[in-house]
């Protein structure tokens, strides 16, 4: 089956083409079926490839399949090729599996939308590019997928393009991504110049020999690669597009901005682990930014009132955790969290979508409340997702987040653990705040909206249930402490290089590990209790606290004014420069020159037009003058 790995991205491509050309002529059911079936088949093939991979010996689980020699230019060669190894197959399964669930959900959610076919066209195209990204065997093909998912993100965020805020958000996402992509591209150039090739296997095999550990080149390459990752995965400083991206339909937020596209940066760092391990400075930067982003975004999430914004900042924060893991060379933990996060974040977003669907599009949590009795399935699945993200045993998020915190402590240092722990506390707090404000307490729902309150149809709730199951049991494959129980780690670790510092460090005691696990659970429970106290027991307390601690509250409620700062520092001057180029360079200089030439011609013609008097006699005079001159020449100059 591994030979047919090319089918995995092919099915969504076919789905995209069919819906693109025939979507408007088919019934909504047919369009949805084609799109979902394409992803379903993709997932099936990924799973079969995974089974094939399991049958192989761990050391040989790295197969390349070249489909086509794409570019051959002098020494530069780029192929369309796929790399099947534990990392890429995990990504492929997560992407196709979660996409499949979300496609089915979308069929119900977007049912009344008039642009139904366009939605599924874009969605299939997105999955195609994402699968290319995770299965590529060289940097250029990965970059094609990288740009492609950015493009589809633009399409899907600005799906309701008639709304100005939506199309602005789409532009912002694409442009901010592009800034990161600039770094990625420079990194690819550097890699080619250094290694003469851009294929993963060749580069990673040659790296230890060619580059010195900590040398300038490898640090530069990895920093530039990480710059690309910060753009795509919404880390500081290129995260500002993600909260705005909530303008898109909720399933889009679930798929792209929670489960798949934003994880591309984490995948890329994990894929290039050999290079990052050789550049201690860069990997430290990755960890610092990851940790900083985790706590920064969590703090903003505490004060957001839009349910989707809470989840958006939560995503940024959780991605920070993944980068923190990669930054302390715990790549398996990072990918593990990527997988569990895909489950519970998609669940949370889809649940939020279900709530919005029931409330006719309302997303302000201050206008929700006491929804639990009306929407039991949505409530219970959302609660499971929240328990998972807060890191409560035995849900999936506990295992992955705990592993990250443990590795941060043992491989990174106490400070990293502390930042992660504080962020975990905040995570539990703001997530349960969301649950309590939405589903518990007194109903603050508008009267009109309350009339239409209903649980969502099965097409939407069944995916929620599936994701809830995955969020519950998904973590068990990474069970720590007991020897041989951490299947996930076993499967993935051959892919990742281990920095010498880590390899030399001794084994930590199981006792310490269990203690830290208990500490994590205690922190999470404290967060839940805080949210309970603030939003159930004493509902007026949050407002009083906001009044008392005005400045901190204003800072987080206004997201630290980062958008405004960026506008002032970057966007403003750029726009002023563009206006300068327009008004002065283009209008005055360029147009002036072109028009000036025309003016000179016009001036000349003003002079010469006087010859044309319309008077026959003056024309005859001209003829006479000419004849006289010619005759005179012949009479006086004959040699």
């Amino acid at each position: 089956m591994i030979d047919y790995v090319g089918l995995i991205p092919l099915f969504p491509a076919i789905g995209f083409a069919l819906n693109l050309f025939f979507g408007r002529r088919m019934s909504k059911g047919a369009v949805g079926f084609i799109a979902c079936a394409a992803i379903g088949l993709s997932f099936l093939v990924s799973f079969l490839v995974f089974l094939d991979l399991l049958k192989m010996a761990p050391a040989s689980r790295s197969i390349e399949k070249i489909l086509y020699q794409w570019i051959v230019s002098g020494e530069f060669q780029a192929n369309i090729g796929f790399l099947v190894d534990p990392l890429s197959i995990v990504m492929m399964m997560v992407v196709s599996g979660v996409s499949f669930i979300i496609h089915i959900y979308s069929h119900g959610y977007m049912h009344d939308d008039r642009d139904f076919p366009r939605y599924f066209t874009y969605l299939n195209l997105f999955v195609f590019f994402m699968l290319i990204l995770v299965s590529a065997n060289n940097f250029l093909l990965m970059f094609v997928g990288w740009e492609g998912v950015g493009l589809c993100s633009y399409f899907l965020i600005g799906f309701w393009y008639e709304k100005k805020s939506a199309s602005d958000a789409g532009k912002k996402a694409f442009i901010v991504n592009r800034i990161g992509d600039y770094g990625f591209l420079l990194a690819i150039f550097l890699i080619f110049v250094t290694f003469g090739t851009i294929e993963f296997k060749a580069v990673f095999a040659a790296a230890p020999g060619k580059l010195a550990i900590g040398s300038g080149i490898v640090t530069l390459i990895t920093l530039l690669l990480f710059m690309g990752a910060t753009g795509k995965s919404a880390q500081i400083p290129l995260y500002t597009w993600l909260p705005d991206a909530m303008e898109g339909p909720t399933p889009v937020s679930a798929l792209i901005h929670a489960a798949t596209m934003v994880t591309a940066g984490v995948y890329m760092v994990a894929r290039c682990n050999v290079l990052f391990v050789m550049a201690p400075t860069s990997i430290f930067v990755v960890a610092v930014i990851g940790a900083a982003t985790a706590i920064y975004a969590a703090s903003i999430g505490l004060a957001q009132n839009d349910i989707k914004r809470v989840l958006a900042y939560s995503t940024i924060s959780q991605l920070g955790y993944m980068f923190l893991a990669c930054g302390v060379a715990a790549f398996t933990a990072g990918i593990f969290h990527l997988m569990t996060h895909a489950f519970f974040k998609a669940l949370l977003f889809l649940g939020a979508g279900s709530v919005m669907h029931a409330l006719s599009g309302e997303l302000d949590m201050r206008k929700m409340g006491a929804l639990k009795p009306h929407m039991p399935r949505t409530y219970w699945t959302f609660l499971i997702g929240t328990l998972a993200i807060s890191g409560i045993f035995p849900f999936a998020g506990f295992f992955s987040k705990d592993e990250i915190l443990w590795k941060a402590l043992t491989q990174g240092g106490f400070l990293f653990w502390l930042v992660g722990a504080v962020a975990a506390f905040m995570t539990a707090t703001y997530m349960f705040r969301a649950v309590f404000m939405t589903f518990h307490g007194k109903s603050r729902v508008d009267h009109e909206v309350a009339h239409h309150l209903h649980e969502s149809p099965s097409m939407m709730t069944v995916p929620l249930i599936v994701l809830a199951i995955l969020s519950t049991i998904g973590g068990l494959i990474g069970f720590p402490i007991f020897e041989g129980w951490n299947k996930f780690h076993e499967f993935l670790s051959p892919v990742f290089a281990v920095p010498p510092k880590v390899a030399e460090a001794g084994h930590h005691s199981a006792g310490l590990e269990i203690t830290m696990m208990v500490v994590s659970i205690v922190i999470a429970v404290l967060g839940i209790l805080s949210a309970y106290r603030l939003y159930i027991k004493k509902p007026d307390l949050p407002d009083r606290l906001a009044e008392q601690y005005k400045i901190p509250y204003q800072m987080i409620a206004n997201k630290y004014w980062m958008d405004e700062i960026y506008d002032f520092v970057f966007v403003g001057p750029l726009i002023r420069f563009s206006i300068f180029l327009w008004k002065i360079f283009d209008e005055v200089l360029v147009d002036g020159t072109v028009n000036g030439v025309a003016a000179v011609v016009r001036g000349g013609s003003q002079v010469f037009k006087r010859l044309q008097t319309g008077n026959v006699q003056s024309y005859a005079l001209s003829i006479l003058v000419g004849v006289v001159l010619i005759l005179g020449y012949f009479v006086f100059n004959i040699k």
């Binding site: 037009k609 006087r610 044309q612 008097t613 319309g614 008077n615 026959v616 006699q617 005859a620 005079l621 006479l624």
Partner: protein
Amino acid sequence: MTSLMISSVMYQGVSLSSYLVLSAILFTVGVVGFMIRRNIIVIFMSIELMLNAANLAFVAFSRFLNSMDGQIFVFFVMSVAAAEAAVGLAIVIAVYRTKDTVNADEVNLMKW
């Protein structure tokens, strides 16, 4: 009549240069008339005058070089002059019908 014919035979006759000078004077008069006069009919008359000045020069040369070529050419010139006069006057009539004038200064639609 016969006395006049006898008197011309007895003298040398008029020299070639006299004819050419006359032709030149007629031509110049024609040119100046063409330039100066406003009435289109008078302009046409000046054109005819120029043509006939040329005819005179042809005939004079034919007489003094004893060649019939000049005379034959005069026939051509005359027929061309006649045809051109016919066409030209037709144009003048058309112009008159449109612009209600035969003043050349007023026919200047092609002025810039």
